[in-house]
Amino acid sequence: MFKCKFIDFLFSVLPIKRWQDFLVRRHIQNCAVCRNKLATAEEARQLLIPENEIENLEDVWSAIKSRLDERRRKRPQTQRRWRWAVAAASLIIIIIGAVWIYQAVGPGKGSLELPFAEQFQINLIEIDNQPAQAFVYHPHDSKTFFIWVEKKT
């Protein structure tokens, strides 16, 4: 009896399920006094509503069937709505993409225009009305050009 009370105390003092389960399995299930404090399956069944006392079970399937049919009817509508949404989203993406490409590569701008350095050229340099020899220096990563001109000997 004292042991049962002590187990009860241990059960309530540490509300950890594993610990409580250990106590139940170790003592309470094997102790006749503690087992008497638990309702039997028969006693529990008296309070619960069993399957055979449930009436009008026919309604369950008819309600489920009508809801399944309703879902089936709704599904094509939702699919159609999704199709429209996907088409509209794709169209918007295509338009945005086209505008972006046009802005990047369009006339007067963009990478199709040659860089400044590649356009630079010297056709003719003269010193005292005589063609001269020209040397062009272009430092790396700079827009500055150094031109050295010498008379041709």
């Binding site: 139940v24 309702a39 529990a44 619960l48 509503i49 369950v60």
Partner: protein, 177 residues
Amino acid sequence: MNDNQLLKECLRGDTEKFKVIVEKYRGKTLALAVNVLGNRQDAEDACQEAFLQVYSHLNAFDFKRSFSNWLFSILYKRCLDQLRKRRRFFNFFKKSKGVYEKLAGSQDLRFSAQNPLPHGMLEKLSPKERSSLCLWAIEGYTGKEIAEILGCSPSTARIHLFKARKKIKSLLEKEHV
């Protein structure tokens, strides 16, 4: 035809086979839901939701598992949904009743709200305790099977059952005294 064969037929699109499954389990599921919720209308809603969920997620079912355990675990979650809905409704009802009473003065407003739980001993148990008690006493499930349905460890399920049995016993003894 066993459950798995019926389910495979359902997956091929045979709705009539699903009817067989519903008819086989409707009593058990409704009994569990009524015992957990204490209300036939809510229990029917929970059962319908559970069967619809089963039908729409049949392809996710693991055929190595027991179908009834899977169905009961879904039903248990739908019952908890119903209890949450009911709690929200009662919170709203309490607030609106307070406001309405203030507006209407001291008049006795006879709000006939549905009782959240059935009168009796079962209302003293938590939903987990009621579910485990019901599964143990009616279906004869073990702690491990109850744990699978409640989504907890077997030791936790055993403790829920233990507490439910203890509470019920003490209530029964008080009633006899």
